[in-house]
Amino acid sequence: MIEVDHVGKRYGTFEAVRDVSFSVGGHEIVGLLGPNGAGKTTIMKILTCFHFPSAGSVSVNGFDIYGDPLSIKRSIGYLPENAPVYGDLTVLEYLDFISRVRYPGGGRTDPAVAKLRQERLEWSVAECGLGPMANRSISRLSKGYKQRTGLAQAILHDPAILILDEPTSGLDPNQIIEIRRLIKQLGREKTVILSTHILQEVEAVCERVLILNEGSIVAEGTTDEIGREMKGDDVYVLELKAGAAPDLESELGGIPGVTRVTQFERGGDGSRAAAHLSMKPGAENGEAIFDWAVGRGYKILSMNRERVSLEDIFTQLTTGEGRAHE
């Protein structure tokens, strides 16, 4: 669906994106993750034909960005960063403008187009919860509603590809959940690329992640794949009935494969003892802990395996620690 091949982009002397290659298939939600200034927005500007790359080639939906930008623009719905909208129009006027661009023609000669246009407009207004604001001037809307107006604009023509630059910025927690639900739902039948610097968003919505730093891709894959590739340790959180095991750190250290133990208090009344265990990755780790507890006659109150969080990986990759790993 989207092929990006050795793409670079310079703005003057600033190299915003360098040698980035990736491809995105159909019906997939891909997250571009990275700190501010990592090149996420630049990549989106190139995909949407707003800017040409300085190097490399890009094709979207089978069309080349130089050869047929109009066809690309037709198949894309784009929400630019900060959701720019025309302040002096009302929500309906604005979406009417977009619908006329997306579904040209209509009028007296072609009532079918006019009807379709009206249906799509109403659908996007309903989907983004804009009903109560429909006749308000956009300049008087809150940040959240402006964002939703921008999103309504992007999905109005039911595009095959959706490109969303920080779609949930400025929204309150309830709205974020709503919009993420909408994006996931849209992702079932569309290709969605969204950028964010919020890690939970990627974990909640995306099937695949590209982690960017300083204009290059530093990791790519599903969140699980990236975790495995980073060879992070398995982390368990263990909670035992207290009194039984006074010195967890040294006792747990005896289990094969354990690399680090950090004991901490749970409950505050001394009734429970708990610890974080880092272990070398292995399928029998959980069993080993269980056997250890049974062997000593300890009572396990809870035991959780924590996935290597994307957050850890992200910090590693984007603060220089990950460099050695490349």
Partner: protein, 240 residues
């Protein structure tokens, strides 16, 4: 064509949703009427000729047209909506033409609103209808070229005020450049060249009621050149 109309519609809505259009219309009508009736003492002159009314138009346009065109691109650049516009399935030329027609239509509305002025004085003397028609045609062509200049300068600005002042300076120059012939001692060749550049010089024959194709051609060329440059600005922007 449908795309041009979409842009045109949006532009007109933007104009009439904000006070700028109303202020510009009001300024234009009040100023030109005050000029004719109070400053030029039209009735006291006792001449059945609207020349003084139309002769001031190029000067009024120096302020009026930048006021109309300043926001067209500068605002899009500032708010970032230009990104939206450029990623919708438009050709660059369609956007430029749509925006141009939006501003031009606003000007046409203003010019139509001046028609009561000749209508009210028509019965007071023997006016030549042909002359008035010629004057109005000249006004439309003069306005079209001024708008395309302002539109182009707005496209290279990120700020309305910059666009406004830049357009005033350029229009002031283009309108009054032929006046140096009157003050400085220049060769006839140079004088001819300077005259040819001037927006005001080409308007003079229209004021007399003459429709000269050379003058029409000049205004069409100016309009086309600036709209073309505007399109090129959009294309160059893509290379960031």
């Amino acid at each position: 064509m449908s795309n041009v109309f979409s842009i045109l519609r949006k532009e007109l809505r933007s104009y009439f949703n904000s006070p700028i259009a109303y202020i510009a219309v009001l300024f234009f009508l009040v100023f030109t009427s005050v000029w004719l009736f109070y400053i030029q003492h039209f009735f006291a002159q006792n001449v059945a000729d609207l020349r003084p009314y139309f002769a001031i138009m190029p000067l009024v346009f120096i302020i009026l047209l930048p006021a109309i065109t300043m926001r067209i691109w500068a605002e899009e650049n500032k708010l970032g909506t230009v990104e939206l516009l450029m990623t919708l399935p438009f050709r660059e030329s369609e956007i430029v033409i749509g925006k141009f027609l939006g501003a031009f239509l606003l000007l046409v509305i203003m010019i139509v609103l001046t028609i009561p002025v000749p209508l009210t004085v028509l019965r007071t003397g023997h006016f030549e209808m042909g002359q008035i028609v010629g004057q109005y045609i000249g006004l439309l062509f003069l306005g079209a070229s001024g708008i395309s200049v302002g539109l182009f300068l707005s496209s290279v600005s990120t700020n309305q005020i910059t666009a406004f002042i830049l357009s005033i300076v350029v229009l002031l120059f283009l309108t009054l450049v032929n006046r140096i012939n009157a003050t400085a001692d220049v060769s006839t060749g140079f004088a001819g060249f300077v005259n040819y550049l001037s927006l005001d010089y080409h308007f003079q024959s229209f004021i007399k009621g003459l429709i000269d194709t050379r003058d029409l051609f000049y205004y069409v060329i100016v309009t086309f050149v600036f709209l073309f440059m505007n399109t090129k600005v959009l294309v160059f922007r893509k290379w960031g």
